[in-house]
Amino acid sequence: MTRFSRLSFLKSAGAAAGVAAATSSPALAAAIDPGAVETKPSGPLAREPVVAIVRDPGLGEVTVMAGTTEKTYKDRTLVKRLLKAAANNHGVNVGEVG
């Protein structure tokens, strides 16, 4: 399985929909900038936004969709950042990264 790095995530986001689409999501913003702060969306959702789904927090599994592709990665660092952003911004318990 390909190791999913922050750089490759940025590349896939930029290639598929532009970084603006990726940064329109607080959760994805957290993946890009560990010091993420909550903000208002700068524009509407892109028609084909890059979507990251934390599939299994315990395993650090994240599924990334870009265009009509879908790949699932094991990336505990990315999952931790997404969960941290979700917990900080939404005040919900979204599980632990094992």
Binding site: P44, V50, V51
Partner: protein, 456 residues
């Protein structure tokens, strides 16, 4: 029926609901096959101001297996795009629509077609116009001419049409889902009443058809136009499907829905009534998401169909031989899952091997019938269902009779069907003036001004 609202999830998503698929050697162009796949079922013709259309966010597919592996070697993909001329009116049309480019037609729809050969996709057409819906005599005064203009001939020899039609499927929906009542025989029903004539509930309802007529040589494995009925090259497996993107997001700042991820199949259709009456309720949505190659899972439901068990209960004393028949229904397996092998019906086969898969199986070497019989193969008309399916085939009656045991002697000559089995009839037929004699064969949709009949 046949798969109108047949599964819990797809019944909430009409634009993706694949109601029927038809495949037959074109009667007026016998070197071609016509395939028709229907969606958006049970349309009441007056359904404005937002009249019916295909889903811009749905991928519609017609699949063809030409080497008996239950996988598609050929796929035709259809994508639609709506265009709004004037967003500042509530009207579908602001005057009579007299042509496909009429400035009075506000909400139009166009489509593109890709042909996929063994995974390699080629765009073969784009910007093709759909006809409008049939609104009424003031809005669509010459509807037949509008629809005819929406038949497109492609450079590769295909002809296509995509738009509203009168639903070709005829069925006494209300009676059949009232505990499998058949009005002409309801005096024999467990909860009986006097026999009456059948009612065709879809006669005045419309549907959206995707129709494509393809030269046979562009569908067969070796590029031939087969003449030998007994050759495996002559048999095509055909089904259709609808898919949606995996993720869809609503965003208040964006009129268009954002989507992402791969296409996920949400509906499919091969044989009429398969998902409707063979697959149990808890599995219907799952079945819609699978391909025919995975249909071995449903073999027990075909071998021991629920409907065959219900008939003797609902019609006490009428089906004693069917009631006593406990063996696996190899006849139904052949009709629905493998095709009929050589030797079952004289000088006929549409066998695609032992792999169980729900597909229409069309033997293209069988020429169109000079005098078609809507009861098809079991009435001696080998050009009809279950050899493919024509628009006027009475598949409900054929399958009811098959489930009642009429076809079991094909695999066990010691079995005698009950006398009633060959008389089972839903009491409705194709009726006059419902179909066209030329492509796209499905008839003119009923207009919303005249339908329903206000004189009743």
């Amino acid at each position: 029926m046949s798969s109108h609202r047949e599964a819990p999830e797809i019944s909430k998503d009409p634009v993706a609901d694949n109601a029927d698929v038809y495949a037959f050697v074109s009667p007026d162009k016998p070197d071609t096959v016509t395939i028709i796949s229907n969606f958006v079922p049970l349309q009441a013709p007056p359904g404005g101001p937002n009249f019916f259309e295909f889903g811009d966010d749905v991928l519609y597919s017609i699949h063809i297996d030409n080497d008996a592996d239950s996988e598609p070697e050929i796929e035709y993909q259809f994508r639609f795009q709506s265009k709004l001329r004037n967003p500042n009116t509530f009207l579908y049309n602001t005057g009579p629509i007299t042509s496909l480019d009429s400035p009075n037609w506000n909400k139009r729809q166009f489509y593109s077609i890709a042909r996929v050969d063994k995974g390699k996709s080629t765009m073969i057409a784009s910007g093709l116009a759909c006809p409008p819906c049939n609104i009424g005599p003031r809005s669509t005064p010459k509807y037949e001419a509008l629809a005819a203009a929406a038949v497109h001939t492609l450079p590769g020899g295909e002809r296509v049409f995509a738009g509203q039609r009168n639903d070709p499927f005829f069925v006494d929906l209300g009676a059949i889902f009232d505990l499998a009542d058949l009005r002409p025989f309801q005096q024999l029903h467990l909860i009986h009443s006097a026999a009456t004539a059948g009612v065709d509930d879809t006669r005045t309802l419309n549907i959206h058809s995707i129709a494509i007529q393809v030269p046979i040589r562009k569908l067969t494995k070796d590029g031939s136009v087969p003449k030998d009925v007994m050759s495996s090259t002559s048999v095509l497996g055909i089904w259709s499907s609808a898919s949606r993107r995996k993720v869809r997001m609503a965003d208040a700042a964006n009129d268009e829905k954002a989507e992402s991820g791969p296409w996920v199949q949400v509906s499919r259709l091969g044989n009429p009534l398969f998902n409707e009456v063979v697959v149990p309720l808890g599995k219907k949505d799952e079945w819609n998401g699978q391909t025919p190659a995975a249909d071995a899972e449903y073999l027990p439901n075909v071998q021991h169909p629920e409907l065959s068990g219900l008939l003797p209960v609902l019609y006490p004393g009428v089906f004693p031989n069917l009631k006593a028949l406990t063996a696996a229904r190899a006849d139904l397996v052949a009709i629905l899952l493998t095709g009929l092998p050589a030797g079952v019906v004289p000088e006929f086969q549409n066998y695609t091997g032992k792999k169980y898969a729900d597909m229409l199986r069309l033997n293209v070497a069988v020429p169109p019938a000079k005098k078609p019989n809507p009861i098809g193969l079991i009435a001696g008309d080998a050009a009809g269902f279950p050899n493919g399916r024509r628009v006027f085939d009475d598949t409900t009656t054929v399958e009811l009779r098959a489930f009642a045991g009429v076809t079991y002697p094909l695999v066990d000559k010691t079995f005698t069907p009950d006398g009633a089995a060959s008389k089972v009839d839903q009491g409705v037929g194709p009726g006059p003036n419902r179909y066209l004699s030329t492509f796209p064969y499905v008839g003119t949709p009923h207009d919303g001004y005249s339908t329903p009949d206000h004189t009743l």
